[in-house]
C-alpha cells in the first residue's frame, strides 16, 4: 500500500478550478517531485493534505487513513510534517525555540502536568531541548541555536524550518519549494541535506519545486500538474522527454 494516496482530488475556489480530479500516490521511502507552472495547484494540494483547505471531491489517504477525518492539529501526529513556500517561522523566537515547538507533540506529558513550572515539566523541557539541538546539528545549525530566527538569512531560515519539521520524526515530509529564493550555493547544500534526510533518517518526501535541476536530481518519480490537472507522471528522464510537459512549460511549438 502506498504511504500517501491522492484519489480523484478536486477543489475549486469561486469559479476557478484549482485541482481537477488529480490522482497519484507516494510509496514509502520514495522521493516524489511535484512540478508544474505557477498556478498549477501544487501548494493547494499541500494545503489539502495538511487540512488547511477542504477538498471539494476525492480523498487523500495517509497510510490508509483519510486525512479529511483528522483535525488540522492531528495531521502531524499521524506523521505528516511540512515546510512552507514563504516560511512560517515564529519570527520573535530563537532558532532553538522554533524547533522545540515542532517537538512538542513528542513531549506532551499531559495538559496540566506540562503547564506547571515544576521539576517534571522542566525535565521534559530539557529533553525536548536536547532533541531539538540534535536535529539542528543534523541540518548544520547547532551553532545558531540561540540566534533570533528573524536575523538569519533566508536560506538559513529555510533550514530552520526543515529542522522544525524533522524534529517531530515525520514519516512523510511535504516540502514547498525548498530551493525557492535561495542562492546558487545554498541550493546545492539543500539538495545534499535533503538526500541525507532521505537516506539517513528514512523520511519519505513529496516536494514542490520550480528549480528543475534540483527536482530532477533528487526525485525518484515526478508528477506534473498544469491548470489543476495531472498531465504526466514518471521517472525524471521520462517526464523531461514528455511532449505534454514541454508544451506546458514552453507553450506549443
Amino acid at each position: 500500500m502506498a504511504l500517501l494516496e491522492v484519489r480523484e482530488l478536486a477543489v475549486s475556489f469561486g469559479g476557478v478550478v484549482a485541482l481537477d480530479h488529480v490522482s497519484f500516490s507516494v510509496e514509502a521511502d520514495q522521493v516524489v517531485g511535484l512540478i508544474g507552472p505557477n498556478g498549477a495547484g501544487k501548494t493547494t494540494l499541500f494545503n489539502i493534505i495538511t487540512r488547511v483547505y477542504k477538498p471539494g471531491a476525492g480523498a487523500v489517504l495517509f497510510d490508509g487513513t483519510p486525512v479529511t477525518r483528522l483535525a488540522p492539529h492531528e495531521v502531524i501526529r499521524h506523521g505528516v510534517a511540512r515546510t512552507f513556500q514563504n516560511l512560517a517561522l515564529f519570527r520573535s523566537m530563537t532558532v532553538l525555540d522554533n524547533v522545540m515547538v515542532g517537538d512538542h507533540i513528542r513531549t506532551r506529558s499531559g495538559w496540566l502536568a506540562s503547564s506547571v513550572p515544576m521539576p517534571a515539566a522542566m525535565n521534559a523541557e530539557s529533553a525536548s531541548r536536547k532533541r531539538a539541538l540534535e536535529v539542528l546539528d543534523f541540518v548544520g545549525l547547532a551553532a545558531r541555536a540561540s540566534h533570533p530566527v528573524a536575523t538569519l538569512p533566508f536560506g538559513t531560515q529555510k533550514r530552520v524550518e526543515l529542522a522544525r519539521a524533522l524534529v517531530s520524526k515525520p514519516r512523510l515530509l511535504l516540502l514547498d519549494e525548498p530551493a525557492g529564493g535561495i542562492s546558487h550555493e545554498e541550493v546545492d547544500g539543500m539538495s545534499r541535506l535533503l538526500r541525507r534526510v532521505h537516506t539517513e533518517l528514512g523520511v519519505t518526501m513529496l516536494l514542490v519545486e520550480h528549480h528543475m535541476g534540483f527536482v530532477m536530481g533528487i526525485s525518484d518519480r515526478v508528477v506534473v500538474l498544469d491548470f489543476g490537472k495531472k498531465i504526466a507522471e514518471g521517472n525524471p528522464s521520462e517526464v523531461q522527454r514528455n511532449p505534454a510537459v514541454i508544451e506546458a512549460y514552453l507553450g506549443a511549438a
Binding site: 492531528e74 523566537m93 522545540m100 515547538v101 495538559w111 515539566a121 521534559a124
Partner: protein, 293 residues
Amino acid sequence: MQEFLQQIVSGIASGGIFASLALALVLIYNAMGLVNFAQGEMAMLATFIAFTLVDHGVSYWIAFPVTLVVAFAGGILVQRIVIRPVERAPILTLVIVTLGLATLVNGVAGFIFGYVPRSFPSPFSAQTVNLLGAFVSYRDLGVIGVSTVVLLLIYLLLQRTTIGLTMRAAAHHPEASRLLGVHVSWMLALGWGLASAVGAVSGIMVAPILLLEPNMMQTIIIYAFAAAVLGGIESPLGAVVGGLIVGVTVNLAGAYIPFVGGDLQLAVALAIIITVLVIKPNGLFGRPSVRRV
C-alpha cells in the same frame, strides 16, 4: 531622603499590583490582538470570591490559591462561552464584547455583593520596619513579595516549559502552530485562564488598600493600561517594568508635585499613556511591526 525612599518602596508595591493586571492584559493581547476591557472586572469578581471564602472562616493562605484556581477556570469558561463564538469577528466586535462583559460582571457583582465598600483582610501587618533608614510597611513588602513570586512563576511557565512555548507559538502564528500539532483554540483558552488568575492577584493585593466594592478596579485598570502601553503592549517583561515605572512615578508625583496630590494621580497615568503613544507607540520593549509588501 528617608521619605523619598519610603515613597519609592510604596511606589514599587503599587507597581507590582499594576504589573500583575498589565501582564494579564498583555497575555490576552498577545494571544488575540485584543485589549480585554473586562480584565479589571474579572479580577474584582475573583476578589469577591476570596472575600467570601475568608468571610466564612477560610484561612487567607488557603483562600488565596483557591481563588486563583477558580479565576483560572473562570477565565477559560469566559473564553469558551463568550469569546470563542466571536473569535473571528472584526476587532471592534471583540472590543464591544469585552466592554459588555465588563458591564455584565460589574452588575452581577453589585447584584450579589452590593455596593457597600468592605474592608478586605491583608495577611501582612501595617507596622513598619526600618529598612536602610526608611520606614517601610510589612504590607508593602508583602505585596512586593507576592507580586514577585507570581510574575516569576508566569515567566517560568512561558519561557521554561513546553506548554508556555506552544502558547507563545499559537499566539504568534496560529496557522503554522496548528500544522505543528498545537491545539490553538485551547492555547487561547489557557491564555485567558492565566490572565484571569494573574488579574485576580492584583485584585486581592489592592483590595486591602482600596476597600472592596464592584468599582474597585476601575482606576487600577487605567494604571494597568498605562503600564502595558509603556512596556509595549506585546511584551510581558514590558508589562512588569512598565508597572513598576508607573507605580513609582505616580507615587512620587502624588507626594512631591503639589497640584497633583492624591487627586490627580490618575491624570499622571493618562499622561503617560498619551506621551508613550505619541513619542514611542511601541513602548519600551515592543517591536515595531514591519510588514513585507
